[in-house]
Symmetry: C2
Subunit: 490 residues, 2 copies
């Protein structure tokens, strides 16, 4: 059923042995060139022959420079991993530019095993495949060289191999419970493997099926195909994907529909604030006990009052229940990976509220408007962001997003007031004034991102913020309601 | 018994309330200036009044810009943390330059509690204090502004507070089992607190004891002393510590004593290699099962054969049993913290072997000889390194260190041979030749570091490497013996 890849005609052991010295030199040299390249290599290795996959990777470590390979072996997820979205464990160890990351026992084999054991039904399997496609696509789109290997052994040969291993005291220990379990469901797995490989096989992230019944040829083919792909990429960067014609679709002017006249008088505000804060104290405590995690995103115009709204929000929370991240320039470790990596790093611990003061939406806001991201980058970001937030929601994480909205006049008033403030962080610069000139472009970007990324499980709230009191209460209300809903279901 | 710090005369609530607005402006402005400064702030907050300490930090979050404070609350260590040295959990979350890291429930309160409950005897407590002193000193020496607060409440008042809390449904939930346990040993703790505070109170990392019976004054004093220290540091960087007079102590010429004539004939080598590798396969497997972790350090002259020795070492290991890190230029996240931080990040998982191809010894080798580190930095590094390795050993981690030694003639021969090699990574540059001119200085640095950092629990092995076969077998032998010894004890 599975079709093997091989380096042209099947080679004899002697022919392979002859070619290996030159292959090793080429591999190490390609790695040397990779070190200063602006992309990373992700090698997914899975297969029905787990021991064979291990052996092939171990051989790769011998032939290449092991100091520049990060090999990750995924086993049963830890409690920490189970509390995060499924792909968190894969995201967090993404290799930086210049390095090779090997993933053993990762998403493909996990999905097949779960489908065969019935943990996933057909619909669940389809959804998983969708996530896998999306994950691999994001990496490939970002310039990562993605290579995937399925190490295959027919059932009879696997049985033979395992029995032989069992009899060899130097090898038997490598057999694990999981190997026998796998063997038991071997036949059920085959159609699912076939389905998964076909559904996730793409030109820019192809599957290679390695025949593990000839281990010398397997290791050679593994290394050879890896080398070919690496050399090709080093020689010529991928041509940028054609960017979808700017259909210049217009999105409804949601910002224009916000009633900026909404306001709350001071005495009413004081009462409401106290009321919501007492409610929030109790809700965050219950969320911690229930392990209910939350992600809150704050975006908005400069001087719209994000800081003040966040301060009112954390006031009633216990220290252990929240963390606030202000998103500024990425570090070089972050720049050296997919732009979403830094946000995957910041996902909340179980039961915590992670507050983002600015967020991944920078990609389709400032990076889009100021031209820091290419059209291809920001245009595909909507899909990437939707997938990211869907994964959070699927793990039961609350996601609420706020755009604090003021009009240009109110912003000007606040800028002028800030000239008088004693707070250095509020000092207005030329740049702040310059940004105002792009107001219509930013407004269009906001209307588009809200239309394209607001979902029931990750909703945008356009908060009227000309009146700060109204904005603060509105934020508190949304967060309280969301927590209440989630904890009711729990 | 504990002496309180206060802001001069005790202030009335009204006086405090009057001062707070200006204090908040100053705090936020100091934080703003800190963001571009080249140091970080570490605020340790502990105390017999845990709830009071929490409240004080929560108040600090309100008054300051919470987005630039990283608050870490330490509770019972996880399995992951227990497998690493005690200070790993504190090292890994060190704030980068420009940020404030708050540590709640950390090393001080833990040590006192363990002493009072008898987990630590007097000698153990003394040793812990030594480690605490060393940890705090390293940070302060590195330029971190270290501030320590002990939040204190007399026993009667603590009882009163807890009873009151228990009766208040909005507060009772904050009381935890640990609070009652602490209350039970309150009296036993006092002398140990006194001892610890006195032993770790230094001008550049002072303790402030806050009287928690007046919470307004407590919070004000906390913020006020923090502000004073921060402003003072921002205004004038600490004067560099006087560097110990270069006594120009000479160390025994250990390198000169290595018999570089040692060699192993090829046929004997093949047999020995196979023998040791079979042994190592079994030992690493047993180490994994036993959770026995290992740290191996490889240093040596350029072209001494580190890469080849490491390759022979990992060949017989299972993929899951080892990781190799090549230490090159630090990332900016690493540069923004104490130079040992990047190595704390790389400590092995339980049962794993972490191999360092170059290491923290760069501080007293290349950084010393080439002048990249100041005399103060590299001179204190010996002590810092000894403490680091002692902490590894105390957690049962094997530490073995190799200097691969060749003579200058052999190096030249290898450089010339490398001109012919097809491996790009071995290509010799002008710089390699230039480095040769500093041979005597490097040799002196090696002799000194071996004399000052070789310990029974973290031994240096000067390996004769003019003959590569001898060096490789020697490395294998040392690693096998070390594993065998450790597993015997287990």
């Amino acid at each position: 059923m599975l079709e093997f890849v091989s380096d042209g005609p099947v080679l004899t052991d002697e022919e392979i042995a002859e070619r290996i010295p030159a292959l090793r030199v080429d591999l190490v040299n390609a790695q040397f060139d990779l070190r200063t390249a602006d992309f990373s290599v992700l090698v997914l290795v899975g297969g029905d022959d787990r021991l064979g996959a291990n052996d092939a990777v171990q051989r790769m470590h011998e032939w290449m420079d092991a100091r520049h390979i990060d090999t990750n072996i995924f086993r049963a997820p830890s409690a920490d991993e189970l509390a995060r979205p499924r792909f968190w464990r894969y995201w967090r160890v993404l290799p930086p530019h210049g390095r090779i990351g090997v993933y053993l026992g990762a998403w493909a084999i996990v999905a097949v095993g779960q489908r065969a054991r019935g943990v996933l039904d057909e619909a669940g399997f389809e959804l998983r495949i969708k996530h896998i496609r999306q994950f691999e696509r994001q990496l490939a789109d970002d310039g990562t060289l993605v290579l995937k290997y399925w190490v295959h052994l027919p059932r009879e040969k696997l049985q033979e191999r395992m029995e032989k291993a069992l009899a060899d005291e130097n090898y038997a220990w490598q057999l694990e419970e999981v190997d026998w379990q796998w063997y038991d469901i071997y036949d059920e797995c085959l159609p699912h493997i076939d389905r998964l490989l076909k559904a996730t096989n793409e030109t820019d992230r192809p599957w290679h099926v390695l025949d593990s019944s000839n281990s010398a040829l397997r290791d050679y083919t593994f290394a050879r195909t890896l080398l070919d792909a690496l050399q090709e990429r080093l020689a010529s960067p991928p041509s940028p994907k054609p960017v979808a014609k700017a259909v210049q679709k217009t999105y409804p002017d949601l910002l224009g529909q916000v009633d900026l006249g909404q306001a709350i008088p001071k005495n009413e505000y004081v009462e409401l604030l106290a009321e919501y804060q007492v409610r929030l104290t109790k809700l965050t405590r219950r969320a911690r006990q229930a392990g209910q995690s939350t992600v809150l995103v704050f975006e908005g115009w400069d001087a719209a009052g994000k800081g003040g709204a966040i301060r009112r929000l954390i006031q009633p929370m216990a220290l252990i229940d929240y963390r606030v991240a202000q998103i500024a320039a990425p570090t070089d470790e972050e720049r050296s990976r997919h732009y979403l990596w830094r946000f995957w790093r910041l996902l909340p611990e179980p039961g915590q509220i992670q507050i983002f003061d600015r967020s991944w939406y920078g990609r389709v806001l400032v990076e889009r408007v100021e031209g820091f991201a290419t059209p291809g980058e920001w245009q595909r970001a909507y899909r990437e962001i939707r997938d990211f937030e869907l994964q959070l929601a699927e793990r039961g994480i609350i996601v609420e997003k706020f755009w604090l909205h003021i009009d240009a006049d109110e912003q000007l008033r606040r800028f002028e007031a800030r000239q008088q403030t004693a707070y250095k962080k509020y000092k207005i610069t030329e740049e702040d004034y310059r940004n105002r000139q792009r107001w219509p472009e930013y407004a269009a970007a906001v209307n588009e991102l809200v239309a394209r990324t607001s979902r029931d499980h990750a909703r945008w709230h356009l908060v009227a913020a000309n009146d700060k009191r109204h904005a603060r209460i509105e934020v508190l209300r949304v967060v309280c309601d969301a927590l209440e809903r989630a904890l009711q279901d729990a």
